[in-house]
């Protein structure tokens, strides 16, 4: 059991101050922006909740919000099962295990704009292996002009980029299962599926919730990779929420609406993450 000791605050204080400095001041500023019409440094007017009304009824934002949910949903549906499957296939010991770990970590360590660049090149029909091969096989593929192709490319890129994270997390969860469980299963002659369903999956629950939470938050905020790959096109087909927001804030310099919208954005992520977090800690308690 943990001991009740409020002096522990002294140990947490540096973290609190450091994060508060970078988090609270900008957050307050965004709230301030969201209720004003700002022309320049000294000319600004209080407009109340007008910006909120405007962004909540803006169809362009509804569209990109919908796209964002579809995208995050697809990402979770593909990456979580695939990550589990890969984790189950990973070797458990020896030199191969380290090697596989290292190879799998590579995509995670590439700067996000380089990830975009890699796939931008790889998917092109003239100089990229994937685009060229697909076209040689008779499949008309062009991520820059076809909506479906653009979506598939962005999704494949995200799977390439992030499935390893899910797999590594699940791998660590699997390693935590004591051998006794497997021995018991062997004695019972349980099938591989039964072992997975009744031993591995329950033990993976808490790690999976971390993975789902991280993947949801990050895919919901995705910006750099699709920006480099497709620039949001063709049309607005792959313009996700972050990009719409950045266009508003920096492209059109509509600070007020952008700020109001970003708070709505933050609230959505906050609610979903809180639900995940509550489920996760609740799960810990009952265990």
């Amino acid at each position: 059991m943990k001991v009740q000791n409020n002096k522990a605050w002294w140990l947490v204080l540096p973290v609190f101050l450091l994060v508060a400095f970078s988090a609270i001041v900008p957050m307050m500023t965004v709230v301030n922006y969201s209720v004003q019409d700002i022309f320049d440094h000294s000319t600004r007017y209080f407009v109340g909740v007008d910006w909120y009304k405007q962004v909540l009824q803006d169809t362009r934002l509804h569209d990109s919000l919908l796209r964002q949910f579809i995208f995050s949903g697809c990402v979770l549906l593909i990456e979580i099962p695939l990550g589990i499957a890969i984790a189950l296939c990973m070797p458990t010991k020896g030199r191969m295990a380290s090697l596989v770990l290292i190879v799998m970590a590579i995509p995670l360590l590439i700067p996000w704009n380089v990830v975009g660049t890699i796939w931008q090149i790889f998917g092109r029909a003239d100089i990229g292996l994937m685009g060229w091969t697909l076209n040689e096989l008779g499949i008309a593929y062009n991520y820059a002009s076809d909506t479906g192709d653009a979506w598939v490319t962005v999704l494949i890129m995200d799977v390439w980029h992030w499935t390893s994270l899910v797999a590594l997390l699940c791998y660590s969860g699997l390693r935590a299962i004591p051998d006794v469980y497997y021995q018991a299963a062997r004695i019972d002659r349980a099938s591989a599926w039964a072992v997975f369903r009744h031993i591995q999956l329950p033990k993976l629950k808490s790690v999976l919730l971390i993975a789902v939470m991280l993947r949801f938050m990050d895919s919901f905020m995705i910006y750099t990779e699709p920006f480099v790959l497709t620039g949001g096109g063709p049309g607005n087909a792959t313009t996700f929420l972050s990009q719409t927001l950045t266009q508003m804030a920096i492209g059109q310099f509509d600070l007020g609406p952008a700020a109001a919208f970003s708070l709505v954005y933050f609230l959505i992520i906050l609610l979903v993450s809180w639900l995940f977090y509550t489920a996760m800690t609740h799960n810990d308690k009952t265990r």
């Binding site: 307050m28 301030n32 209720v35 004003q36 209080f46 009304k53 909540l56 809180w274 509550t278």
Partner: protein, 90 residues
Amino acid sequence: MDWMAWTLPTALFFGAIATILAGMTVWELRSPCIERKGFLPISTTRGDRLFIGLLGSAYLHLLVVGTTDWSVWIASVLSLFWLFAVMRWG
């Protein structure tokens, strides 16, 4: 501080939040609360209920502003009721 573009309403808003947090801290020090189960599906502490209440209020405001032509004050009054209900029976 000029670049932060403060306005009176937002200053009051953050002041209120800070006061509530300070008040909750003092209250917790005076009489530590025990987790309990109310009408919410999970058992909660006082702080949890405050968070749920505030988050719910934020969404209530968005709902009113986004889908109706009512004054935002109606949302605020409704939120106060919601906040009270969650703190009392949540």
